[in-house]
C-alpha cells in the first residue's frame, strides 16, 4: 500500500476543506487534502450563489450576521474575480406584515451591516420586474459568488503554498491508536477511486471538513457528531430576471431569495431534514413551492423558461439539537474531539456558510497550530488568491471577450460562451476525470440547452486531448504535475492568448469517451426532469433527437463500464425501483 505522511490531513474538498488547506499551507504546515470526487462535488457546488451581507441573519442569529459581513468585506478583496457585485435588496411584500422590517433595520445597524431604505421609485428603476406591490426596500451589500471558481482558485493558492490536493480520493477509514480515554486519530486509509488503489496517509492532525458527511466521517473514529442534513432545493430560470439579489424581508423561510448568477437567476430554497446527504431527489411540490414563492418577488417568474433544479444539503450542527432544521444555527462549529470525546489529533469543522469559509478555516487552523504547539499568524485575510487582480466579474465579461477576440467560430458551448481553448486550458491546468468536472471548471452545459450540443463536442475534444497526451506520453497522474492554473479559466481571451505555452494535459487513466458522454447526459437529465415542461421539454426532445436519432449513444460499445460519476445514475435507477415504477 502506498504511504504518505503530513502534518495536517484535511478531509473534504468543499469550500471549508480547501480553505483549511490554504490557510494551513500559508502558515507553513505540511498539508494533504483528500476529496472523494471533484472539488465542490458536495454542498459547495450545489448552493445558491449568495455572498451574504448577513442581513438574512441579523434578527435571528446576530453572531452569524457579524461573521457574514466581516467575511463579505474580506472575500471581496481576496476572491474579487469570484464575486459579482450585485448588491442586495430586502423587500417587503404585502404578505410580510408586522414589525419585522423595522426590527431588521435596527438589527443590521446593531451588527454593523450597511443597510439603507431606498425610495421605491429607485428600486423599481433598478429592478423593473419586481412585484409592484412591494412596499419597502432596503439595500445591503449582498453579492453573487461563483463557488466553483472560488474553490478551485483557493486550491490553486494552497498548492502554490505547498499543499497537496488529492481529488478522487475517498477516506474509507480513520486510523486510531491507543485505548479508552487515550485514543488519537493518526491518519486515514484512503481509496484512490480512479485507479482503485488504497493509500495510507499518516497525519499529526486530521481535520474533518466533510460538510454534511462530517457525521459519517467522525463515526469512522467512533466519535458521534450530530450533523443535521437539511436539504435545500433551488430552481434556475433562463433569464437574469433581476440584477440584484432579492431577499424577502421576513423571518427566513422557503423560497424567499432570488439570486442572479452568471446568465441565470436562481430561486431558493427549501429546508427539509433528510436521512442521508446523498438523497438529492427533488419532488414536484418542492419545485412548485419555489415557483409560487418566486412569483411573489417577480410576478410571472413561474411562467419563465425553467432550466434546471438541484438540491444541496446543509451541514447544520447543533450539539444535541433535534428540532426543525431551519431553526438550527448557521454559525460555524469547531469540535475539538480531544476535549469533547477524548480522541486526540482530530478536529471537525462544520456548520457555517460558503460566505464564512475563510473564517471557519482560520479558527480551525488556529486550533491545529495550538495542538501542534506552533505559533503562526493567519494570513488568508490579506492574501489575494490568483486572479483576484482581474476585479469583480460582470455579466457581459465573456461575451465581451469573445466578440473582441472574434472567437465565435470556436464556441463549444454557445449558451455559456465556452471556447475550445477554455476547455483545453481547463484540462491542461486542472485535473479532469468526467465532463461534470469540466462543467464546474468552465460552466459547460449549464445554459438553456443543458448540454445538447456541447456534451458531444466536449467528449470529442477530450478524447483528442487524451490521444495527444498518450502519444506524447504526457503526465497521466490526475493529481501530479505542477500547480494547477485555474485563475483565468473563466476568461475566453486569456485562454486563447496562453494556449500554445501551457499544454500539458494531466489526463486520467479513465479514458473512455463513451462513458463521459453517457454519464454527463444522465447528470443533466437528473437536473432537468423536475422542471421539464413547455419550451424546455421541446429543447429536451431536440437533445434526444441528437443523442438517439443522430448519435445513437445508447448503442455504443463498452456501455457496461462505470466511472466515478456513474454511481449517481445507478442511484437514480435504484430509487426508481423502490418507487415501484
Amino acid at each position: 500500500m502506498k504511504r504518505m505522511s503530513t502534518d495536517v490531513l484535511v478531509i473534504g474538498g468543499g469550500s471549508t476543506g480547501v480553505g483549511v488547506a490554504w490557510d494551513a499551507a500559508l502558515r507553513g504546515l505540511r498539508v494533504i487534502l483528500v476529496e472523494k470526487r471533484d472539488l465542490t462535488h458536495g454542498t459547495t457546488g450545489r448552493y445558491h450563489g449568495l455572498l451574504h451581507s448577513g442581513g438574512r441573519y441579523a434578527v435571528k442569529d446576530p453572531q452569524s450576521a457579524i461573521e457574514c459581513i466581516e467575511e463579505n468585506r474580506i472575500l471581496r478583496r481576496t476572491h474579487a474575480h469570484c464575486i459579482e457585485d450585485t448588491g442586495g435588496f430586502f423587500v417587503v411584500t404585502p404578505e410580510d406584515e408586522g414589525d419585522y422590517p423595522d426590527r431588521f433595520k435596527a438589527a443590521c445597524a446593531k451588527v454593523g451591516i450597511p443597510c439603507e431604505e431606498i425610495p421605491l421609485r429607485e428600486a423599481f428603476r433598478r429592478e423593473p420586474l419586481l412585484n409592484p406591490r412591494i412596499s419597502r426596500v432596503f439595500e445591503v451589500p449582498d453579492g453573487s459568488a461563483d463557488s466553483f471558481l472560488a474553490t478551485h482558485v483557493t486550491a490553486q493558492a494552497a498548492r502554490q503554498a505547498g499543499a497537496q490536493i488529492l481529488i478522487y480520493h475517498e477516506v474509507i477509514d480513520l486510523l486510531t491508536e491507543g485505548g479508552d480515554g487515550d485514543r488519537r486519530v493518526v491518519g486515514a486509509r484512503v481509496c484512490d477511486v480512479v485507479r482503485g488503489e488504497e493509500v495510507r496517509i499518516d497525519a499529526a492532525i486530521t481535520v474533518n471538513a466533510g460538510g454534511a458527511w462530517a457525521g459519517k466521517i467522525a463515526a469512522m473514529a467512533g466519535v458521534p457528531v450530530n450533523v443535521i442534513p437539511g436539504k435545500g432545493v433551488m430552481v434556475a430560470v433562463n433569464h437574469r430576471l433581476v440584477n440584484t439579489v432579492i431577499n424577502r424581508c421576513k423571518m427566513p423561510a422557503d423560497g424567499d431569495i432570488l439570486v442572479p448568477v452568471h446568465t441565470v437567476a436562481i430561486i431558493g430554497t427549501t429546508d427539509e431534514r433528510v436521512s442521508d446527504p446523498e438523497m438529492l431527489t427533488i419532488e414536484p411540490w418542492e419545485v412548485d413551492l419555489m415557483l409560487q414563492e418566486g412569483d411573489k418577488l417577480v410576478p410571472g417568474l413561474s411562467r419563465s423558461r425553467i432550466l434546471r433544479a438541484w438540491a444541496g444539503v446543509r451541514p447544520l450542527y447543533q450539539e444535541g439539537y433535534t428540532g426543525e432544521s431551519r431553526d438550527a444555527t448557521r454559525a460555524l462549529a469547531l469540535l475539538d474531539h480531544r476535549r469533547r470525546d477524548g480522541v486526540a489529533g482530530f478536529l471537525t469543522i462544520t456548520g457555517g456558510k460558503w460566505t464564512t469559509f475563510r473564517l471557519m478555516a482560520e479558527k480551525t487552523v488556529d486550533k491545529v497550530c495550538e495542538q501542534l504547539g506552533v505559533e503562526r499568524p493567519c494570513l488568508t485575510a490579506t492574501t489575494p488568491v490568483p486572479g483576484a487582480e482581474q476585479g469583480h466579474y460582470w455579466l457581459g465579461h465573456r461575451l465581451h471577450e469573445v466578440e473582441e477576440a472574434r472567437l465565435q467560430g470556436d464556441l463549444i458551448c454557445e449558451c455559456e460562451l465556452v471556447t475550445r481553448a477554455m476547455i483545453e486550458q481547463a484540462v491542461a491546468n486542472n485535473p479532469t476525470v468526467t465532463l461534470d468536472d469540466l462543467r464546474r471548471d468552465v460552466r459547460l452545459g449549464m445554459g438553456p440547452c443543458q448540454g445538447g450540443f456541447c456534451t458531444f463536442r466536449a467528449a470529442g475534444i477530450l478524447h483528442e486531448l487524451r490521444l495527444h497526451a498518450q502519444e506524447t506520453q504526457a503526465q497521466t497522474d490526475v493529481n501530479g504535475g505542477p500547480p494547477w492554473n485555474v485563475a483565468y479559466l473563466q476568461s475566453p481571451r486569456h485562454s486563447v492568448q496562453t494556449k500554445p505555452a501551457a499544454f500539458n494535459p494531466k489526463v486520467s487513466p479513465l479514458d473512455n469517451p463513451n462513458l463521459l458522454l453517457r454519464d454527463f447526459l444522465q447528470e443533466r437529465w437528473r437536473g432537468l426532469t423536475p422542471v421539464l415542461w413547455g419550451r424546455q421539454l421541446k429543447q429536451e426532445r431536440l437533445d434526444e433527437l441528437i443523442y438517439l436519432t443522430i448519435m445513437n449513444v445508447d448503442h455504443l460499445p463498452e456501455d457496461g463500464e462505470a466511472s466515478p460519476l456513474t454511481e449517481f445514475w445507478r442511484f437514480d435507477a435504484a430509487g426508481a425501483k423502490e418507487d415501484g415504477q
Binding site: 413561474s302 458531444f456 475534444i461 444522465q522 426532445r541 433527437l545 436519432t549 443522430i550 437514480d572 415504477q581
Partner: protein
C-alpha cells in the same frame, strides 16, 4: 377556390402528405410555424431501428412490425401499405435527383454515427451508402482541424471497438474556408464551388490509402451534392460517404429542399412562419384555421385538414408545470399521462423511452383523431406523423418511416372520405 386540403406542418410528414395529395389531384396548401425537424435529421429513412429493450438493432424492420403496440401507427397502416408508401417515396425522391437505396432483402443498413455507433436505417441517400457496415473494407474518417461538430478520432475509436477497421485523419481547416465561424451548411455551400472541391480532392489525396473508404462530415455540397460526390469518388478512385452530425444537418436539408421544390413545381404553396393559433368548427366540422402574422390573423379554409405538427419536437404539443399536456391547434385529446410525476423515467437513455414522449393523438383506422371513447373528434380532421400516440419515433428510430407511412395512409383516407361533407 376552396382548398381540398390544408396541411398544418412542413416537416417530412406534412411535405410528404402534400406531395401525395397533389399527385392525387387535390388542391392542397401547407402552412407551418417553422421549417420542421428535417433540417436537424441525418437525411436517412429510418423505419424501425430498435424494439423495446432489445439491445441489438432490428435486422429486418418489416418483419418486426407486429411486435409493436397494437395501435402503433405502423400497425394501423399495415405492413404492406407501409412498404408501398416507402417505395412510392423512394421513386418520387429518385425523380427529384435524390437516389435513396438500401440493403437487399429489406435489411436495415448500418452506418457510422458521429460518435462511431452503428445507426440502423432502412434507406440511405447515395452519399451515405458507402458507409454501410456490410461493405467491410477499412475506413479512413477525415475531419478538419478545429471543426467543432466532427471528431474523426472518436468515430474511428468506436468503429474499431466494434470490429470495423478505421483510422482518423485531419485536414487543415483552410481547405474548406478562410473563416472559422462556418457551420455545416455554410461549408456545404463552399463545396458547391469547384475550386473548393478541387482543394479538398488534392488534400484527400495526401491522406487516403488505397482500398480505404473515405468518411467525411456531411458537407459535400448543398446544391451540387451529386456532382461533388461523383468528383470525389472518381478522382480519388475510392468509395466516399458522409456522416451527418449536429444540426443543422445538410442531408436533411437536401431532402427538405427537394420536396419543397417539387411541391412548388406542382403549384402547391408551402407557407412558413404561419403559426396556427385558432380555428372555427361548426357541428363537428372544421371551417377554417387561423394563423398569426405580423399584419392580421389569416383564415385558411379547406374541406379537409391534416395535422402534422410533429408532437413535442415540432411544437405540436405544449405542457405546463400543472401536469397538463395539450395539442396546440385543436386541443385534441392526448393519451399522455396528465401527471408530471409519470412523465419521465429516471434514466435518460432508458430503452423504453419516456411516457410523456410516447403519448400523443390517438387515431382510428382512417387516421382521424378520436377521443377516449373512440369517437371521431372532427369529421374533416386527420393526423399523421410524430404526434401520433403509441409510438416514440426517436426511441424506436422510426422517425421517417412513421412520417411517410402515416402521411400516405392519411391522404388515402382523405381521398376516400373527406368530400362527403363538402
Amino acid at each position: 377556390m376552396m382548398l381540398d386540403l390544408l396541411v398544418i406542418g412542413a416537416g417530412l410528414t406534412g411535405l410528404t402528405a402534400a406531395l401525395r395529395a397533389a399527385e392525387a389531384g387535390l388542391r392542397v396548401k401547407v402552412i407551418a410555424k417553422g421549417m420542421g425537424a428535417l433540417y436537424w435529421t441525418p437525411g436517412t429513412i429510418d423505419v424501425l431501428g430498435y424494439l423495446g429493450a432489445e439491445e441489438r438493432a432490428v435486422q429486418r424492420p418489416w418483419e418486426r412490425i407486429d411486435e409493436l403496440p397494437e395501435r402503433h401507427p405502423y400497425r394501423i397502416v399495415g405492413v404492406k401499405r407501409a412498404q408501398e408508401a416507402i417505395e412510392w417515396f423512394r421513386i418520387r425522391t429518385a425523380e427529384l435527383g435524390l437516389d435513396y437505396g438500401g440493403r437487399k432483402g429489406g435489411d436495415n443498413a448500418l452506418t457510422p454515427s458521429p460518435v462511431g455507433a452503428w445507426r440502423p436505417s432502412y434507406l440511405l441517400p447515395a452519399g451515405q451508402r458507402a458507409g454501410d457496415a456490410e461493405d467491410g473494407r477499412p475506413m479512413v474518417i477525415v475531419g478538419f482541424q478545429g471543426m467543432r461538430d466532427f471528431y474523426p478520432h472518436l468515430i474511428a475509436r468506436n468503429l474499431e471497438a466494434q470490429g470495423q477497421a478505421a483510422r482518423a485523419a485531419v485536414l487543415p481547416w483552410s481547405v474548406l474556408s478562410e473563416r472559422r465561424d462556418r457551420n455545416s451548411v455554410q461549408l456545404a455551400e463552399a463545396l458547391d464551388e469547384p475550386t473548393t472541391q478541387q482543394r479538398l480532392i488534392d488534400a484527400l489525396r495526401l491522406v487516403v490509402k488505397p482500398g480505404e473508404r473515405i468518411g467525411l462530415p456531411a458537407i459535400l455540397g448543398r446544391e451540387a451534392h451529386a456532382r461533388v460526390l461523383t468528383a470525389l469518388t472518381q478522382e480519388l478512385n475510392a468509395a466516399v460517404f458522409e456522416i451527418a452530425t449536429l444540426p443543422p444537418s445538410v442531408p436533411g436539408i437536401r431532402l427538405a429542399t427537394a420536396l419543397r421544390r417539387s411541391l412548388e413545381g406542382r403549384g402547391v404553396r408551402v407557407e412558413i412562419g404561419m403559426e396556427a393559433i385558432d380555428f372555427h368548427a361548426q357541428d363537428g366540422v372544421i371551417e377554417f384555421v387561423e394563423t398569426a402574422t405580423s399584419a392580421r390573423p389569416l383564415k385558411h379554409r379547406a374541406k379537409a385538414f391534416l395535422l402534422a405538427t410533429g408532437g413535442v419536437l415540432g411544437g405540436g404539443f405544449d405542457s405546463n408545470p400543472d401536469g397538463r399536456f395539450w395539442e396546440t391547434v385543436f386541443d385534441l385529446p392526448l393519451t399522455t399521462p396528465q401527471d408530471r410525476r409519470r412523465w419521465f423515467r429516471p434514466l435518460f437513455l432508458d430503452p423504453q423511452g419516456h411516457p410523456a414522449l410516447r403519448g400523443g393523438v390517438a387515431v382510428n383506422d382512417a387516421f382521424q383523431p378520436i377521443d377516449a371513447a373512440g369517437n371521431v373528434v372532427y369529421a374533416n380532421l386527420w393526423a399523421a406523423g410524430g404526434l401520433l400516440a403509441h409510438a416514440d419515433p426517436i426511441a424506436e428510430r422510426s422517425l421517417e418511416g412513421v412520417a411517410i407511412a402515416s402521411a400516405v395512409a392519411a391522404v388515402e383516407a382523405i381521398k376516400l372520405g373527406s368530400f362527403a361533407h363538402a
